[in-house]
């Protein structure tokens, strides 16, 4: 183990210890009532909320690998908590850092969880409906509706506007929740439609839609880390359960379909982890990591629930949330067709798979 690897292992251990002490006990509550400000503050105090925010703005200033470890370890317990960190550091942060004005000042309050932030990115996933933002800027007012906002209870939000410059805005107030949407997963975060009528906003840059899309494209490894944590959390629960649960006078683990199924998935988990944290950092490798992590998470969470039988179907056992979350996350951050088109382009060396 190199000195660097030792430091990363220490970081992993400390995040895991935090999660065991502070989050495991409230994991079901997070699903039922949402991620509380208290838990968010505890996460902020550890430097997780502002994991990638530079130290000069009050963040932890972690490097990419350290940040991915935080995401993975949080997702093992609460994918919602991991996604809150992901939105803050992989979407909000790079967008606000482009600002030449005073918008970066908000980062200090974000890192300390004094204010909560989000980004309207789902409109880009709705290409069938034009993939257009819903907020219009006219006469100094930002007005309109944003339909699908994850972490929609946030205090401030970055949106792309439907104006000639397609401005990227940081809206500080003047928006409200008009509809709570069904939440398949990530129930620790609100999923809502927002109505805007605001004069309290600042323009960060132009080409807002493209800026948000670029941020989404740049987060392959981070997203892969969350999926990896989610798969690992579900499999760990299934392995423990299959040791403890007895049927036909034997522990579940003694039966081949259970043992072989879980062992095979654990092997895949290790392979994906090695790849996600591996040496390759080119575009194709990042895309591969994301695509395989998504596929693994879906199968692992399904199998983990299945091993739990009837108990797995109830929230108390904390395994059904992984099944819901992997599906929800794959839609909100998985970008299935886009990912595969981009991966195909890398594999074939030219545009492929578009018919």
């Amino acid at each position: 183990m190199t000195a660097d690897e030792g430091e990363y292992q220490l970081l992993r251990n400390s995040v895991r210890e935090f999660v065991q002490k502070n989050m495991d006990r409230v994991a079901v509550k997070i699903e039922q009532e949402g991620l509380s400000p208290v838990t968010a503050k505890e996460m902020a105090a550890q430097g997780f909320i502002g994991a990638r925010i530079p130290a000069e703005y009050g963040g932890a200033g972690l490097d990419e690998r350290g940040y991915m470890i935080v995401l993975e370890e949080l997702a093992r317990c609460s994918p919602s908590a991991a996604v809150k960190v992901l939105i803050t550091n992989s979407l909000f942060l790079p967008l606000v850092m482009q600002s030449q004005g005073g918008e970066r000042g908000v980062l200090r309050d974000v890192a300390s969880a004094k204010i909560d932030v989000t980004v309207d990115h789902c409109f880009l996933l709705e290409k069938r409906h034009g993939g257009l933002p819903g907020v219009i800027v006219d006469g100094g007012r930002a007005k309109g509706k944003a339909d699908h906002i994850l972490n929609g209870g946030a205090d401030e939000i970055v949106v792309a506007a439907k104006d000639p410059k397609n401005s990227l805005l940081l809206v500080r107030s003047g928006f409200k929740v008009v509809e709570e949407l069904p939440r398949l997963g990530l129930r620790g975060l609100r999923f809502v439609s927002l109505d805007f009528d605001s004069t309290d906003f600042e323009t960060i840059s132009e080409n807002g839609s493209r800026q948000i899309e670029s941020a989404l494209e740049a987060m392959d490894l981070e997203v892969a880390s969350v999926f990896l944590g989610l798969a690992a959390g579900a499999l760990a629960k299934a392995v423990e359960y299959s040791k403890a649960r007895t049927t036909f006078e034997h522990p579940l683990k003694d039966y081949q379909p259970v043992a072989f199924g879980l062992s095979g998935l654990r092997a895949e988990e290790e392979m994906v982890r090695n790849f996600v944290y591996g040496e390759r950092r080119d575009t194709a490798a990042k895309k591969m990591a994301r695509v395989r992590a998504v596929a693994l998470a879906k199968r692992a969470t399904n199998q983990a629930l299945q091993v739990h039988g009837g108990y797995g179907y109830f929230e108390d056992f904390g395994v059904e949330k992984f099944y819901r979350d992997s599906m929800a996350l794959s839609i909100l951050f998985g970008r299935g067709e886009d990912d595969m088109e981009k991966l195909s382009e890398q594999v074939f060396g030219s545009r492929a798979g578009f018919l």
Partner: protein
């Protein structure tokens, strides 16, 4: 072989579909899903409309399919108030049939089946609830049952108990009783927080010295395991058709959402979308045919447990596959609409009434047994 339903069953299907589309609105389905409450009014309406005809199993089958096609939670909750009825029909006394079945058939009573326990799910013979014969001839039941559908609402339950110590064969010594849920010593706790089918009622039932008259023993003492296994070979067909309904409903919604966005024409979708839609539709049709074939044999009193298990396992896995693909194809719109509920509802199909793994073991072991039997009949070795 041509496979067509009778005019009467086709008409029943149409009525069930019309009723479900009219009464189980997306708002209503969402309301019961969120609140995890039982849709008592919907059930009453369904009975009042005359579409719940428990006397014809084919009509029941297509009604279940059409209700689940619109919404599985409220659909199953409305239709499955007779859960366990076949145990009484097949093995009960004339008196038991007269006392209990008309009330269920008319919608005046709700019943359920209590087999699963905290430590015995797939392993039915592992149950620990006991029924002990007292000096006055009554039986006294002690123990608890888990994950009981209709448990909190049922007027009576068909309960599997152990009446004799397990000998060499663990499935011996089990007996079935009809237990009035108003009996002294019965308590029930609603189990909340389910992933899906949240409008169905699920409870834990505790029996604390519950006295049951001897006349409530169903069939012969010690034969309970066989009765319950026979019942599962019936109920699995209804689970299979629930799964077919869920999958078909998810495909319906997927096509609607795809048509609403983009070019508005399925034919011009990209090939990956078309191939996926083709696979979804094929698996659904294959599930439906398997289910109807298994049902056809059962309803002619010639059940084929292997085929039943095939139908149940395949249809359940199809429901999970199709609802997942439906969300993948419809993206954020599906996620924020009714498809997310279908995805959550589908998973239980792979678990209740026998997990997919158990079904596959039944299929393979039945094949083995059939081959051994055939070999023995020819005078060959069975090893």
């Amino acid at each position: 072989m041509e496979f067509e339903l009778s005019e009467a069953v086709t008409e029943a299907r149409k009525k069930a579909r019309d009723f479900a589309l009219k009464e189980i609105t997306p708002d209503l389905a969402r309301k019961y899903d969120q609140s995890e409450e039982y849709p008592a009014d919907l059930r009453k309406k369904a009975f009042a409309s005359g579409i719940l005809d428990y006397s014809d199993p084919w009509k029941m089958l297509v009604t279940m399919e059409e209700f689940c096609r619109v919404d599985a939670g409220t659909g199953i909750a409305s239709v499955a108030t007779l859960f366990g009825m076949e145990v009484i029909m097949l093995f009960g006394t004339d008196e038991q049939k007269q006392v209990y079945l008309p009330r269920v058939n008319s919608g005046d009573a709700i019943m359920g089946l209590a087999v699963t326990e905290a430590s015995a799910g797939s392993d039915v013979a592992g149950i620990k609830t006991t029924a002990t014969k007292a000096a006055d001839g009554k039986y006294v039941i002690n123990g608890s049952k888990m994950f009981i559908t209709n448990g909190q609402l049922a007027d009576f339950l068909v309960v599997l108990t152990r009446t004799a110590q397990a000998g060499e064969k663990r499935h011996h010594g089990l007996s079935v009783f009809i237990v009035d849920m108003n009996s002294k010593g019965v308590s029930r706790n609603k189990l909340a927080g389910k992933l899906g089918v949240r409008a169905t009622n699920t409870a834990e039932i505790v029996f604390d010295n519950v006295e049951v008259p001897a006349k409530n023993l169903v069939g012969e003492e010690g034969k309970g395991f066989y009765y319950i296994m026979t019942f599962f070979n019936i109920s699995r067909i209804y689970v299979a058709v629930q799964a077919v309904g869920i999958a078909q409903g998810a495909l319906d919604r997927t096509l609607e959402l795809l048509e609403r966005g983009g070019a508005g024409n399925i034919e011009t979708e990209k090939e990956e979308v078309l191939v996926t839609l083709g696979e979804m539709a094929t698996r659904i049709e294959a599930s439906r045919l398997l289910t109807y074939e298994a049902a056809s044999r059962l309803f002619k009193f010639n059940p084929d447990p292997k085929l039943t298990s095939m139908a149940k396992a395949f249809a359940a896995e199809t429901a999970v596959f199709v609802t997942e693909k439906a969300l993948e194809l419809t993206g954020v719109e599906g996620l924020a609409g009714d498809l997310e509920r279908s995805f959550r509802d589908a998973k239980i199909m792979e678990i209740w009434e026998g997990t997919s793994e158990v079904e596959k073991l039944i299929i393979a072991r039945t094949m083995g047994r059939d081959r051994n039997k055939a070999r023995a009949e020819k005078g060959g070795s069975t090893t």
